[in-house]
Amino acid sequence: MFILALALRNLFRNTRRTVITSAAVVFGLALQVLGWGLVDGLDDNFLRAAATTTTGDILLRPPKYPTDGLSFPLEEASVPPALTGFTGDTAPRVLFSAKVVHHADAARALGVAYDPDLDYRVFPRERWRVQGVWPDKDQPQVAMGDAMARLLGVGLGDQITIQARTVDGAQNALAYAVTALVHTDNGQMDNNAVWIRMAAADELLQLQGRRTHIALHVGGLQDSTVVRDEIQASGMLKAADGQEWTAKTTREEAADLLAINDIRRKAILMLVGVIMCIAGLGIASTVVMAAYERVREIGTLLALGMKRREVGALFLVEGALLGIGAGIIGASLGSAAVLYWQVNGIVLSPELMKAQGSFPASAVIYTHFNWAPVFGSLAFSAFIATLASLFPAWFAAHLNPADAVRAD
């Protein structure tokens, strides 16, 4: 016990040196915890953006439809399965490439044809609406992403023309009134999506009952992976024309983006690893200097009968305390930042969102606090610090007391 007390006192002996040595650990751990919270938040953000705007909990597609989420070939549209026996909510959709023209301005757009009676059960549409009302009536009306409307100078009630190819590849163009501006959790949608009732889309695209997606909401606390497997096993995905639709969970849909986040995590780990190695060298040099400066004192402790391993332990504990103390400060700072942004969110600037035009994420990133990186990094820093103190501890424990008590 007095070894701990003595080690603690020794740390405050050269406060400046201790502070400088701790700084690297504090910085490394704060970075680790904050970086982790940010990337976990990005995960949440991607999943939320996907689930609330395009995939629901599970997304069904026709068998040959591309799953990259980048191209929307209408020729792959197909008659959807009836899903008889599925107890959750379903939202059949047709996504299509289009061009929106407003006066002299035109922009490429993603058309989202939806069923007004079903879509709201899977997607939180009312939460998105920033102006106007959803174009659910039997009229030539659409809703538009707010960023796109800004780009084209479109206001509520304005007329626009949507150009698109029909299922058979023929060009078509029809005029619509914009009745709602929406802001979703998905910046990509806000930048280039127009929402149109399925009946109106039928007229524009000549769908003949074909669909490109069905988003499912499994409801309750059910695990979407389990539900997906059940749906697949049940044969529910077989359409009337005999084609078997594919089913993917939100997490699988976002896999590419989540994989990018895993790379980000590795990058953070490497960066923090390098910082911690530097911090470890700092701790090592601090404790080595402490050991060399205190030879006479070590000799005195040995003369007073302190065991060699206790003397070694004294230096190990000094290093470990430095690592843990600085670690707690660093992890606390990082955690505080993560918790703050978990509540308040980091608002990405509109410019950044525009630059990241195809970034399927919300403009507000909520960091995600997790104990694992806090404890993980604390253990890591304690380990590095103890490791760094091994040599000085060994040095101190092996001094000859007769020589050491007379050192200057």
Binding site: F2, L6, R9, N10, F12, R13, R296, E297, G299, T300, L301, L302, A303, L304, G305, M306, K307, R308, N400, P401, A402, V405, R406, D408
Partner: protein, 250 residues
């Protein structure tokens, strides 16, 4: 050679040699030294610089082992003891007073004394009283919470005496205890040590080349070039006092 009438010697060196390797050479710091120390002695090891005073005190204090010969302390041959056992002997049986005081700078006077008592394995009960009593006996009751840097050299050496005394050791070893003190403080420290010796019968062995210190010793062992060249009991001392294995006035 001072001999004793009765009892066993506290410490006995027989033909002790100590060599220090220095590159290709070997420095013979002690070249075959035999000496006995009896309980209650107040003995100075004197001699010119490099004569082996510190070396002989290190061996008696179990800080080091001889290259040849035997060192008996309380009947045990310390040359055969392991490091940990030597540490144990130091912790329990020997107190040290150093030329440079060697207090632990981050500990207060009280804590410095307490540390020695704890390391000696003493009963936890009554520790506080013992530490306070030790500091009181060196006149530092009012300075217990001060750190070494806040004490004068003389005061620091008093703390060191309290630290050596607190565990009631068989032997206190002081290598040039007054060399870093002015003559007034040096004399005071010596008088304090002598009072402890007289009051408690604690054995003190110290080294010096200061005539003032030597004048207070009851026995002076003279070393020169690694050998004992004289062992005297100053004439002003009565013979029975010079070999106080039989307690003074007993």
């Amino acid at each position: 050679m001072t001999t004793s009438g009765t009892g066993a010697p506290l410490c006995q060196l027989t033909d002790v040699k100590k060599n220090y390797p220095m590159g290709d050479m070997v420095v013979q710091a002690l070249k075959g030294v035999s000496v006995q120390v009896w309980p209650g002695e107040f003995t100075a090891f004197a001699g010119p610089s490099g004569s082996g005073k510190s070396t002989i005190l290190n061996l008696i204090g179990c800080l080091d082992r001889p290259s040849e010969g035997k060192v008996f302390l309380e009947g045990r041959d310390v040359a055969t003891l392991k490091d940990a056992e030597l540490g144990d002997v130091r912790a329990r049986r020997i107190g040290f007073i150093f030329q440079s005081f060697n207090l632990i700078p981050v500990l207060t006077a009280y804590e410095n004394v307490e540390l020695a008592l704890r390391l000696s394995g003493a009963d936890l009960r009554g520790q506080k009283e013992r530490v306070e009593e030790a500091l009181r006996s060196v006149g530092l009751s009012d300075y217990m919470t001060r750190r070494p840097a806040q004490l004068s050299g003389g005061q620091q050496q008093r703390v060191a005496i309290a630290r050596a005394l607190v565990k009631t050791p068989a032997l206190i070893i002081a290598d040039e205890p007054t060399a870093n003190l002015d003559s007034t403080n040096g004399a005071a420290i010596l008088d304090l040590m002598k009072a402890m010796n007289a009051d408690n019968g604690t054995t003190f062995l110290f080294s010096t080349h200061d005539p003032m210190v030597m004048s207070r010793a009851r026995r002076i062992v003279r070393l020169s070039d690694g050998q004992i060249v004289g062992d005297e009991t100053p004439e002003r001392l009565a013979p029975q006092e010079a070999a106080p294995s039989a307690p003074v006035g007993g």
